[in-house]
């Protein structure tokens, strides 16, 4: 069975200069698409990947990453909305590059679709009541 998932990888300093993601292709037959990357020598690295392949290969690849010391997170958990603080003004709607916020024309409330979110973080500071939260 084929899968395609978006994940966030945190590379500890010691791993930043080692080739890791390339082995997912060579040894685990996985395809990857880099959605966001921030990798600097001597600093913790961060990469957001869309990883696809067969389920069995995907599971083995993830195990390899974990064993190497890379911390892995599912992307959907990364940006969340604090429902207490959100006022449903709509300032986020035109800020989000993937259209993860949509105005419900009937209720005039803003719906947040976490599955469309790339965790770029643009909404975090553009939200006037600061209702969007980034979790690492």
């Amino acid at each position: 069975m084929a899968v395609s998932k978006r994940i966030v990888l945190h590379f500890p300093k010691r791993l930043v200069e080692r080739p890791i993601v390339s082995r997912l292709v060579k040894e685990y037959n996985l395809d990857f698409n880099i959605l966001k990357a921030s990798v600097t020598p001597d600093e913790e690295g961060l990469m957001v990947l869309e990883l696809s392949g067969k389920q069995a290969d995907y599971d083995r690849g993830i195990r390899y990453l974990a064993e190497t010391g890379v911390r892995i997170q599912s992307l959907s958990q990364d940006v969340t909305r604090n429902e207490e603080r959100c006022t449903h003004c709509g300032a986020c709607i035109t800020i989000c590059p993937t259209g993860a916020f949509e105005l419900d024309f009937a209720t005039r409330r803003v719906d947040f679709y976490g599955d469309k979110c790339l965790a770029c973080g643009l909404c975090i500071k553009a939200c006037p009541p600061r209702a969007m939260e980034l979790h690492f």
């Binding site: 006022t87 449903h88 003004c89 300032a91 035109t94 800020i95 209720t107 553009a126 006037p128």
Partner: protein, 402 residues
């Protein structure tokens, strides 16, 4: 069929008043006609919930032992400076105030995570706030330093007093430049990347009473989840702004100065707000009940989004340079559809004012009136209206020669 406020209040006391929101009246007047609707309806409730920068709170914290004279000294509330130009223990904290060590826009765009608006929100939420003060000491007020937690429930007075709120109408902000700009109208993307507006449109208080025929000084209102009053016309109140045939201003016009006891307000309706690259402010909830004294007054409340126009203004060059040119007008119906056309280009829109919360305010006010706990008020004095001698002036700069 003219009614008086006293007659309407008597119906409210008897539980017989007919109250609808400024959204509901639109359809009702279409179905029944304005004459019939004016006979049946006694009150139309309005609401708005948006960032309102000219907001603040004055506090009287009570005297310490020994006494300290904060007037003329320095006071910080959660590191945000408060104004101390009053008597010994009276303070005023404005929504835009920032901690001295906030980097502002030195790291551009500044985040402005915490300021005066957030202090007000925490006071309303009954959270402890840290007060740090220094004073010069006098014979009758000898103390020079004070560090203490304060809580709204222990203060003698905590009063929300906002010099300019509830703008009647507002410009729509766009960016014609080739780089992102950070404004009080939100983040504006380059080359007409988005258009931001800030009004509840058909639900907004002053758009439903465009000539201020019922809203005046002393009018009781919903303010921050509690009861407040119109204290005066707001600053920059400009009734002589251009208007359409239905009396609705085509740009910023009337404003309200409002006041109310902060102790009975709620943090859901007063929210500390951060505008990226611009500063801190306070999002304020306001609702006004309009007594249907005549068919004319009811007709004003039937205004709908397609009948309210706002000018589109470039915030990269035209607004900062105080130039008068606009990029045309759009209706709130167009703005609320999610896109408008500017210079032939389709531009996605976003609101800074929450329409769903405005609906909620109008509904709460309606419920207060139906349950008999909110009676209407006769204004003590009217707000200046069309024909007054008000002219909104830019600053007349006169160079100071040494």
């Amino acid at each position: 069929m003219a009614k008086t406020i006293e007659e309407i209040n008597e119906k409210i006391r008897q539980g017989k008043a007919v109250v609808v929101t400024a959204e509901e009246i639109i359809g009702m007047a279409k179905d029944k006609g304005v004459t019939k609707a004016a006979e049946e309806v006694d009150v139309v409730t309005t609401g708005t919930f948006g960032p309102m920068c000219s907001s603040g709170t004055y506090l009287n914290i009570g005297h310490s032992k020994p006494r300290i004279k904060l007037g003329g000294g320095r006071v910080y509330l959660n590191d945000v400076p408060a104004y101390t130009g009053f008597a010994a223990v009276d303070l005023y904290i404005g929504a835009n105030a920032l901690p001295d060590d906030d980097p502002r826009n030195r790291i551009y765009p500044g985040e402005f995570n915490y300021g005066g608006g957030h202090v007000i929100e925490e006071l309303v939420a009954r959270k402890d706030v840290r007060l740090v003060a220094s004073a010069y000491g006098t014979d009758c007020y000898p103390r020079k330093r004070l560090e203490t937690w304060i809580n709204i429930k222990d203060l003698n007075d905590a009063v929300l007093f906002n010099p300019r709120n509830s703008s009647q109408n507002y410009t729509v902000a766009v960016n014609l430049s080739d780089k992102t700009i950070y404004t009080y109208m939100g983040v504006l993307k380059p080359d007409l990347g988005n258009a931001n507006y800030c009004s509840a449109g058909q639900l907004s208080p002053l758009l439903n009473d465009p000539y201020y025929k019922t809203i005046g000084i002393g009018t009781k209102i919903f303010l921050g989840g509690g009861i407040g009053y119109v204290a005066w016309q707001g600053t920059q109140h400009n009734p002589n702004a251009p208007r359409t045939g239905n009396g609705v201003p085509r740009e910023g016009a009337g404003t309200l100065a409002v006041i109310g006891d902060l102790k009975q307000m709620k943090p859901r309706w007063l929210i500390g707000t951060s505008m990226l690259g611009y500063g801190c402010t306070l999002t304020v909830g306001i609702g006004v009940a309009i007594p249907v004294l005549s068919e004319e007054i009811l007709r004003y409340t039937t205004v709908s989004d397609d009948g309210i126009l706002a000018p589109v203004v470039d915030y990269s060059e035209v607004y900062p340079q105080l130039r008068p040119d606009t990029l045309g007008e759009v209706s709130y119906a167009q703005l609320k559809s999610g896109k408008i056309i500017v210079k032939g280009k389709e531009v996605p829109t976003a609101s800074l004012s929450s329409y769903s919360r405005a609906v909620e305010i109008a509904a709460i006010l309606k419920e207060w009136i139906l349950s008999g706990k909110f009676l209407l008020t006769e204004p003590v004095a009217p707000l200046p209206t069309v024909g007054s001698d008000i002219v909104l002036k830019p600053l007349k700069e006169r160079p100071i020669e040494e």
